[in-house]
């Protein structure tokens, strides 16, 4: 039955997340950005509540929640500040790989290290069309792989205790590797100024590192299938975070324009302002629904979930840019200065969009699926 109402359990959990977002995350967001890491007290509180391990399986001390529940929670937390949420430690994007892998595989990979609560990064270079300054090369040896080169900037690089690298070798074979030895990589800190500055952005550099066979997570078609599932989950979760930021910007700018006066009246009374607010409200709602639809399909492991995830993320990218830009615009000069949060939100939004998939590429991928015969998205 068509319904837009969360379960009672979800509603209670969302309320907790939203209160933390408003009372604990937003007030310290600027400070976290300046310090380039998230406040430790906040991290401890969120870890205690389980918010850092929503996606991880129970055997890995995670909550193993369905995606439909997770998206509502990360959306609520991101209402506080996207940068802070992206800077939280834990398995992050790598959690989706751990979630999908068989328990025995993960147990084998982690038998020598205690990393259940560690911070991970996920480097995905399987898209060989991607244009890069420095490429990351992977070469197959008789009993392992050699990693050489530098990755693109990824979140959590500065804080990672372990990482998962997905790449294609020169023959086009996909391979996923597990790295938990710090001596295997260095992190190029770079010069990041745009946004998500608390999220540990950096490039991983590998100097001919040998990775033995026992650190290979998956290869070939198995790796391709795994990466497709992981991609779906990551896209949905990242899109949900963007919706949280959209809601924050919409509420903030609605309140601002309801109070700010010009030409003798509150500026909300001007239709140039109020109509833009209405459009922002619609875009936010649309992205919200598309994310939830994709999450439900992914939970059902429906064949179309990959396509629905790419369209949800494309729309979220487009909407979050529009909404955060609108927020700055409607605040006028105040939107441009750091006394107000919206300039930061606009920067964070653009950085997020840069990190998680090129918009047009997401669109082309979806379009190719549609032309190839996957119509179910629009047809229901």
């Amino acid at each position: 039955m068509i319904s837009f109402r969360p379960t009672e359990e979800e509603t209670s959990f969302i309320e907790v997340a939203k209160n933390i977002a408003k009372d604990k995350i937003r007030p310290i967001a600027r400070e976290c950005e300046q310090n380039r890491h998230v406040d430790k007290n906040l991290i401890n509180e969120l870890a205690e509540l389980g918010f850092l391990s929503l996606e991880l399986p129970e055997y890995f001390e995670g909550l193993e929640l369905p995606l439909i529940t997770q998206v509502q929670l990360v959306q609520a937390l991101s209402y506080g500040d996207l940068d802070v949420v992206q800077g939280l430690p834990g398995a992050n994007d790598a959690a989706s790989i751990i979630r999908i892998l068989p328990e025995s595989t993960v147990t084998n990979l982690t038998k020598d290290v205690q990393i259940n609560h560690g911070t991970a990064a996920f480097v995905n270079t399987v898209n060989t069309d991607e244009v890069r300054e420095d490429r990351l090369f992977i070469t197959e040896e008789a009993d392992g792989y050699i990693l050489q080169g530098t990755s693109q900037p990824v979140r959590m690089a500065s804080f990672a205790e372990y990482m998962i690298v997905a790449a294609k070798n020169s023959q086009g074979k996909s391979v996923i590797l597990w790295l938990d030895n710090h001596n295997h990589w260095t992190v190029e800190q770079g010069d990041y100024r745009l946004g998500l500055l608390a999220s540990g952005l950096g490039r991983f550099s590998f100097d001919g590192v040998y990775i033995p066979k026992n650190c290979v997570v998956a290869e070939g078609y198995t790796a391709d299938d795994l990466l497709r599932q992981v991609r779906t989950r990551i896209r949905i979760l990242q899109a949900a975070k963007e919706v949280g930021l959209m809601e924050a910007a919409l509420d903030y700018v609605t309140e601002y324009t309801a109070e700010r006066k010009a030409f003798g009246q509150v500026i909300a009374k001007f239709q140039g302002v109020s109509f833009r607010i209405a459009s922002m409200a619609m875009e936010t709602r649309i992205s919200n629904h598309l994310v939830k639809e994709a999450a439900i399909k992914a939970d059902e492991q429906g064949s179309e979930s990959d396509g629905l995830a790419s369209r949800a993320l494309y729309r979220a990218h487009r909407s979050v840019r529009y909404i955060t830009d609108s927020a700055v615009q409607l605040l006028g000069g105040h939107g441009f200065v750091q006394e107000f949060p919206v300039e930061k939100w606009m920067r964070d939004a653009q950085a997020q969009v840069s990190l998680y998939g090129r918009e047009k590429d997401l669109l082309f991928q979806r379009g190719e699926q549609i032309i190839a015969g996957t119509k179910e998205g629009a047809l229901q």
Partner: protein, 403 residues
């Protein structure tokens, strides 16, 4: 829990209406457009089948059984309404709007009529012969500003004398009755407005012209004239008593506004059905005729992905508005959102599909017709701008600001 899965009943109505749209509506769509009317024998036939255009689920309330079993069952009439309407409009919007039934006149009678009025006006839609209802609000000088209507209603012994002109009235000439909005005292603004049911054949009530339109040509759009037209007091919607009660907030304006929360999702669903028809048609041609790589393939991939996504987005907004209505939750904001988005999106979708069809699309393809048909969905039942106003008002309501 959040779910986008259709219930068994919803699936059934969707499948049934889709079958009807594909097998009965589509085959006559292009011919009806050319004739600028839906053939009478076709209307007789579908009426005998009991197919009507239902634009509301108010009746679900009024006719609902009150047994314990039924009262536990969640209402789903609004959701079924939008599912069915999307399918019908996918078949053809002009033919769908011409289907017998109370049409847009149904919701005000159902929501605000007395039990006697509901029985008298809604029981005429039987299988013996096709009949229509209609809704007359718009005037030459008042459309979006519904509070500015000028048609007058002067109280006389036993009823009211109506004078004025109504335009853009769907099925206005053929309707057995029309809900007409008029003012008993223009100086009282909205409080002076009343809704009357004016029956066909009433002296002083006539159709002066049928409009020639850009699209929806098979559907009748009438201009109505009320010249010293006497309407008995029992045709005042809700009865006189409801207006005399000092605590009653009922006005004709509220009757007009109340219906929008249920009719806007229906209109949005129609726009979605039209967009989907254009999309599916174009997708078939792209799959068959377009190259599998290169510039035109990329162009088609990008456009079709956007189109498909926009349709899905509009549908989810519409479902949300209908879901809220079924649960009895305030849905004015959601109803305005789905109408605003769907109305604009559907034209854009048809335009993009025409882009993919190229010059060939001008010659005998249905998409150019859908493009002409769909434009008015961004206008009637409240223009896009009016919907923005409604959304903005709800958005600012917590701050006590009326925009």
């Amino acid at each position: 829990m959040i779910s986008f899965e259709l219930s068994e009943q919803q699936k059934q109505i969707k499948e049934m209406t889709h079958w009807f749209a594909a097998n009965e509506i589509r085959p006559i769509a292009m011919k009806a457009e050319k004739m600028e009317r839906v053939p009478d024998d076709w209307l007789d036939n579908v009426n005998r089948m009991g197919i009507h255009l239902n634009t509301s689920s108010f009746s679900e309330n009024s006719t609902q059984k009150t047994s314990a079993k039924d009262s536990k069952k969640e209402r789903e009439g609004n959701r079924m309404g939008v599912l069915a309407t999307e399918e019908m409009a996918w078949g053809d919007p002009a033919v769908t709007l011409s289907l017998p039934g109370a049409g847009l006149g149904g919701p005000p009678v159902e929501s605000s009529g007395t039990p006697e009025q509901k029985k008298r006006f809604l029981s005429i839609f039987t299988k013996d012969k096709p009949r229509w209802g209609a809704y007359a609000l718009t005037e030459p000088e008042a459309g979006s500003d519904a509070s500015g209507i000028r048609t007058t209603a002067k109280k006389v012994a036993g009823g009211y004398i109506l004078n004025g002109q109504k335009i853009f009235i769907t099925n206005g000439e053929r309707a057995s009755w029309v809900v007409v909005f008029a003012t008993v005292d223009a100086s009282r603004g909205r409080a002076g407005q009343r809704a009357f049911v004016v029956e066909k054949g009433t002296s002083g009530f006539s159709c002066t012209r049928l409009a020639k339109k850009m699209g929806l040509r098979a559907n009748e759009t009438a201009e109505l004239l009320l010249e010293d037209c006497f309407v008995p007091q029992e045709n005042l919607l809700g009865g006189e008593q409801v207006y005399e009660t000092s605590n009653s907030k009922q006005t004709g304006f509220q009757v007009a506004m109340k219906t929008f929360d249920s009719t806007r999702p229906i209109v949005a669903a129609m726009a979605i059905g039209i967009a989907r028809a254009a999309y599916e048609y174009t997708l078939d041609i792209v799959q068959r005729d377009y190259p599998k790589q290169g510039r035109y393939f990329l162009l088609a991939s990008e456009i079709l992905a956007e189109v498909e996504q926009d349709i899905a987005a509009a549908r989810l907004l519409t479902w949300e508005a209908a879901w809220k209505a079924d649960l009895g939750l305030a849905n004015a904001k959601e109803a305005a959102m789905c109408k605003a988005y769907s109305g604009k999106m559907s034209l854009d979708v048809c335009s993009k599909c025409l882009e993919l069809l190229g010059p060939d699309g001008l010659d005998g393809h249905p998409v150019e017709k859908l493009y002409r048909d769909v434009k008015v969905f961004d206008i009637f039942e409240g223009t896009n701008q009016v919907q923005h106003l409604v959304i903005a008002r709800r958005q600012y309501a917590p701050y006590g600001i009326k925009v």
